[in-house]
Symmetry: C2
Subunit: 206 residues, 2 copies
């Protein structure tokens, strides 16, 4: 991650269908590379015990969330169990200006939306290795009916079909989330070597 001081950070949008294990992989990536920061989402749900405002989430009211959506201050958002979850635009931009890389872990439908809004952002799709593994992972949660699982499986497959729209894809095999995280870290390092980000070196030869 050697960067010159002038360089802006890069936004990496990591996404993938249910069963891709993106949550685990992103946690792995963040915990082994302290130079990479995860964007802190805003939410309207109540804090759970142990959750800190500004660390786990920015906890805000529904009115405030809707005001921010209206003002274009939310990069992307989704609703789950009647609560909003979203990414504050200002925080992302400030971190990038400071030269920090930001990881955004979001659902597939939001990824392309965000890529268009943040210049030079990079999209990475995580996938399971195949459809048998995908189904096993969805079933192993054990909490859903067959019908729900079937629906989630179909939805996951549809999302994987969007893979060509992404810049990169990485396979997350069972029990190999550390390897998957390292492959993503390799992509992050390589992206910093793109001449889009390295062209300032020319100044050292004038």
């Amino acid at each position: 991650m050697e960067m010159t001081e002038m360089n802006k950070g890069i936004l990496f949008i990591i996404s993938g269908p249910a069963g891709s294990g993106k949550g685990t992989v992103v946690r792995e990536l963040i915990s082994s590379h302290s130079d990479i920061k995860l964007s802190v989402s805003a939410t309207t749900r109540s804090p759970r015990p142990g959750e800190e405002n500004g660390v786990h989430y920015h906890f805000i009211t529904k009115d405030e969330f809707e005001r921010r959506i209206k003002n274009g201050e939310i990069l992307e958002y989704t609703t789950y169990c009647e609560n909003y979850y979203g990414t504050p635009l200002k925080e992302v931009n400030e971190a990038l200006e400071r030269g920090n890389d930001i990881i955004l872990e979001i659902e597939v439908d939001g990824a392309m939306q965000v890529k268009k809004k943040i210049e030079n952002s990079v999209t990475i799709m995580l996938t399971p290795p195949d459809s048998v593994t995908l189904e096993n992972r969805l079933r192993s949660r054990g909490t859903e009916t067959d019908e729900v699982i079937k629906w989630r499986l179909e939805r996951a497959k549809e999302e994987i079909r969007l893979l060509p729209d992404y810049d990169y894809s990485v396979i997350n095999e069972d029990g190999m989330s550390d390897k998957c995280a390292e492959q993503i870290y390799g992509i992050i390092c390589a992206e910093h070597k793109r001449t889009l980000h390295t062209r300032d070196i020319i100044k050292k030869f004038i």
Copy 2:
């Protein structure tokens, strides 16, 4: 370098001005990663003791070389001390079809020429860290007059100005060619994760 059997290899064009140390870095890269092959050039110069035809160079006659140029069978070429040096197109294409990655170490003026001819090839420019280091490296050869060194320095700086035309650039610091080679290897691995090369995974979910 995990690739599915169907995938074609990728051509990596590694270039840089005199003093970038590209020769050393590429040797380092090849020797530590047996899965990466260096393209074998054709030349009209005579073999030196120990040089094997087809290993160090394809040794061919001047007439044959000129016939191949005329027929478009040479991807790029240059002349040095009245001898031709060039890259046979057929060999590169065959290796890529077999799924092998190929490294082409060439001069800056040939790199863009080749990129246009080989689809999805990737260009990487190696640079010294700054102009003082560049000049030291050019002087340390000790065989050239001040005038020649000055000319080579100016030419190197002009070539570095072409960096934005390349996909990636990597700095080769003094005594760090192994680190530089690993950064290039990182770029190679990351390029294989581009959805251009990974989209076949979708077939596993149909």
